[in-house]
């Protein structure tokens, strides 16, 4: 068990920069998810941590040791590959035993037949068999130990791949989208299992995924990566409720956050679609963007801030999402409503929307979060000045 510290890590393939100065510190025993859209460099980062790829610049340390120049086999890490990478000719038990055999037995002890005659080989074999049995029990794959990977389902293979990683106690576990090949139901089940396993082992986990739900449900912290940079690394609730960047806000959360153009006048008072809001930013005329989560929008009782037309409804049983087209807005607004409100939301009907200004997330034109939000000075007062 150890912490993993990444400092100003860069990676280029030819002329294309893939990683642009990654800074990340994963504490001992922490579960950190790297999440981001496809092609943003998550796997590349993980492979560099593992030592399977050479960094162009920057440094990584595992525990207290810098690991630059140390080969993957000597970094004492375990990795679960997206493709599982099980050895097809070995049984499940043999697959799980490989890391132990490679690391704990000498070359002579590993020889096919004569190896058993080497001093200490018998005892080692027994220890390894016990460790394999233990790992198999944890993952509930005891019944599969004699099968070949080709005879397993995707979920079972994924457990075997996990077993092969878990059988050792490495400095950290690296997992590259281990659930992406599973069906939805199994994915939900296995993600709980991995989270529980992490709590049980108390080991350091770095978990790559492009699925934000996985990241939200399993991690201590989420690192949102985009375009080769980590935009924000924080606990799931914070990433959701308090994003640093519009891209983070847009990536995390489903359905996506609603983004509306906003204007700030010379006093910093905000207005959206021509309606004044009782909040303000630092004085100065500028265009801004405000983000509204679907659950912060609600049907207006009296005076509506935004008026639009309902164009699509999604009933999910426990909740209802309505897409509302608003004049002057390119995209549609998504609103979460309780099923009881279904009667008020008819496709084609007009809907007045309202929101609590305090829950609006304000971003500047470049998408950076504006945290300095003030209560707007009253209009009359402003006019007097």
């Amino acid at each position: 068990m150890a912490e993993v510290k990444i400092t100003d890590l860069r990676k280029s393939f030819g002329d294309t920069q893939i990683l642009k100065g990654i800074e990340l510190k994963v504490a001992d025993g922490e579960f950190v998810s790297l999440v981001g859209p496809s092609g943003c460099g998550k796997s590349t980062l993980l492979r560099i941590i593992a030592g399977l790829e050479q960094e162009s610049a920057g440094s990584i340390s595992i525990g207290t040791e810098p690991v630059s120049g140390i080969r993957a086999a000597d970094r004492n890490l375990s990795m679960v590959f997206q493709s599982y990478a099980l050895y097809p000719h070995l049984t499940v038990a043999e697959n799980i035993a490989v890391p132990l055999r490679m690391r704990q037995m000498t070359r002579w002890q590993r020889l096919p037949l004569a190896g058993g005659l080497m001093p200490g080989a018998k005892r080692r074999e027994q220890e390894i068999a016990a460790a394999v049995a233990q790992a198999a029990e944890t993952l509930e794959i005891g019944a599969l130990l004699d099968r070949k990977p080709g005879e397993l389902s995707g979920g079972q293979r994924q457990r075997v791949a996990l077993g092969r990683a878990l059988v050792r106690a490495p400095a950290a576990f690296l997992l590259d989208e281990p659930l992406s090949n599973l069906d939805a139901k199994l994915r939900v089940h296995t993600r709980t299992e991995i989270a529980e396993l992490h709590r049980e082992l108390g080991a350091t986990f770095i978990y790559v995924t492009h699925d934000q739900v996985e990241a939200m449900t399993m991690s201590d912290r989420i690192a949102v990566m985009m375009g080769g940079e980590i935009l924000q690394c924080a606990p799931p609730q914070k990433v959701y409720a308090d994003p640093d960047d519009l891209r983070v806000a847009e990536f995390i959360g489903s359905p996506k956050i609603n983004v509306l153009p906003a204007e700030a006048d010379a006093m910093g008072r905000l207005s959206v679609l021509g309606r004044d809001l009782p909040i303000a930013v630092r004085p100065g005329r500028q265009t801004l963007q405000i983000g509204l989560r679907p659950e912060t929008l609600h049907l207006a009782r009296g005076d509506a801030k935004i008026v639009g037309r309902v164009v699509h409804l999604e009933h999910l049983g426990s909740e209802l999402f309505a897409q509302v087209a608003v004049e002057g807005l390119q995209g549609r607004l998504v609103l979460r409503a309780a099923p009881a409100q279904a009667a008020a939301l008819q496709i084609g009907s007009e809907a007045g929307l309202d929101f609590d200004p305090a829950s609006a997330l304000v971003f500047d034109a470049a998408g950076m979060r504006v945290r300095e939000i003030l209560t707007a000075p009253a209009k009359s007062l402003a006019q007097a000045v």
Binding site: L52, R71, A72, M79, A85, L86, H89, P99, M102
Partner: protein, 322 residues
């Protein structure tokens, strides 16, 4: 549900016609198979029990006489010996070299295509043409091989290599004319010609190995190239190896052109390179002893059959994983 309402006749026809149809549809293929595979083989089998020769008006049933000859006459003993030696030398060597070359080429960054082409050249060149080159190279006096060897005479190499010292003192070998060397020369040419083909098959096999497996092996602590080979490459090449070995075996049993091209008097010095295929040709066609030729053919088919059965067993059971 629908079947219940059908009148009985329709139902019977519906039940029978798929089978009839199946036979009808496979009839052409079956007929062809019978005609071009089984009939010739069966007639060869029948002929192998006779003393038939082409153009003869009568033929006599001679029972197992032809087969008895195969196992008693010294020239056939030489044939079996030469053929088996050839197979047992050429198969492991050309498979091993093919694999080695494939691994080396695969590890190259640049220049793969050049090496691939060079090693594949002997496969593409017809041996009849290449035999002239080999004959020239192996010529006892003006050949490149002996000239090169002679350059080593009188140097320190001679003291390290007794064989060369002997050659320097008593004359270099006459290669194709010497019964101690002829078979080995044929083996060498067989390897030279065959391994490029195996290399190409292995290269294809290597491209099919997922890169992640090597990464996993590295993460699991396989530090040396040999460990990675044992853990990933060799098992993954299992199906390729079975195929390569089978093909090479069958091709080795079939060796003919080298012998025919290199030895004008047939079968090499004192029949030391008297290969099975050549024997079939010599007996069955040149000397018109069809009965004997057919008997050797049967023996040849038996060998091929054994190899094929082994191959089928291996492919069905062990070496396919998914």
């Amino acid at each position: 549900m629908v079947a219940v309402d059908m009148p009985p006749q329709t139902r019977r026809r519906a039940a029978r016609s798929p089978q009839t149809m199946a036979w009808l549809l496979s009839a052409p293929a079956l007929a062809l198979m019978l005609l071009i595979l089984l009939v010739p083989m069966l007639s060869a089998l029948v002929l192998s029990f006779t003393d038939y020769s082409l153009g003869a008006t009568e033929l006599n049933w001679v029972g197992l006489d032809n087969y008895e000859k195969l196992f008693t006459r010294s020239s056939y003993e030489k044939m079996l010996w030469a053929t088996l030696t050839y197979v047992l030398v050429v198969v492991p060597m050309s498979v091993g070299l093919g694999l080695g070359a494939a691994l080396l080429i695969n590890s190259l960054g640049r220049g793969r295509e050049i090496y691939k082409t060079i090693y594949f050249l002997p496969v593409m060149a017809t041996l009849l043409a290449m035999a002239i080159v080999w004959e020239l190279m192996l010529h006892p006096t003006i050949g490149m091989v002996n000239r090169t060897l002679e350059m080593g005479c009188g140097t320190w190499i001679e003291s390290l290599w007794p064989w060369l010292a002997d050659g320097c003192a008593n004359g270099m070998p006459i290669w194709l004319g010497d019964k101690d060397y002829a078979l080995w020369v044929v083996c060498f040419i067989g390897i030279w010609q065959g391994f490029g083909f195996n290399m190409v098959l292995y290269l294809a096999g290597l491209t099919g190995i997922p890169r992640d497996l090597y990464n996993a092996a590295e993460m699991d602590g396989a530090r040396s190239a040999w460990e990675r080979f044992r853990l990933v490459t060799w098992p993954a090449l299992g199906p390729t190896t079975v195929f390569v070995v089978t093909i090479t075996c069958i091709r080795a049993f079939q060796v003919f052109d080298t012998v025919e091209a290199l030895f004008p008097r047939g079968g090499g010095p004192s029949k030391s390179a008297y290969m099975m295929m050549f024997a079939i040709y010599e007996k069955g066609i040149k000397q018109n002893l069809i009965g004997v030729g057919a008997a050797i053919t049967m023996l040849f088919l038996l060998f091929v059959m054994i190899i094929t059965v082994i191959q089928r067993r291996l492919t069905e059971r062990k070496v396919h994983y998914s």
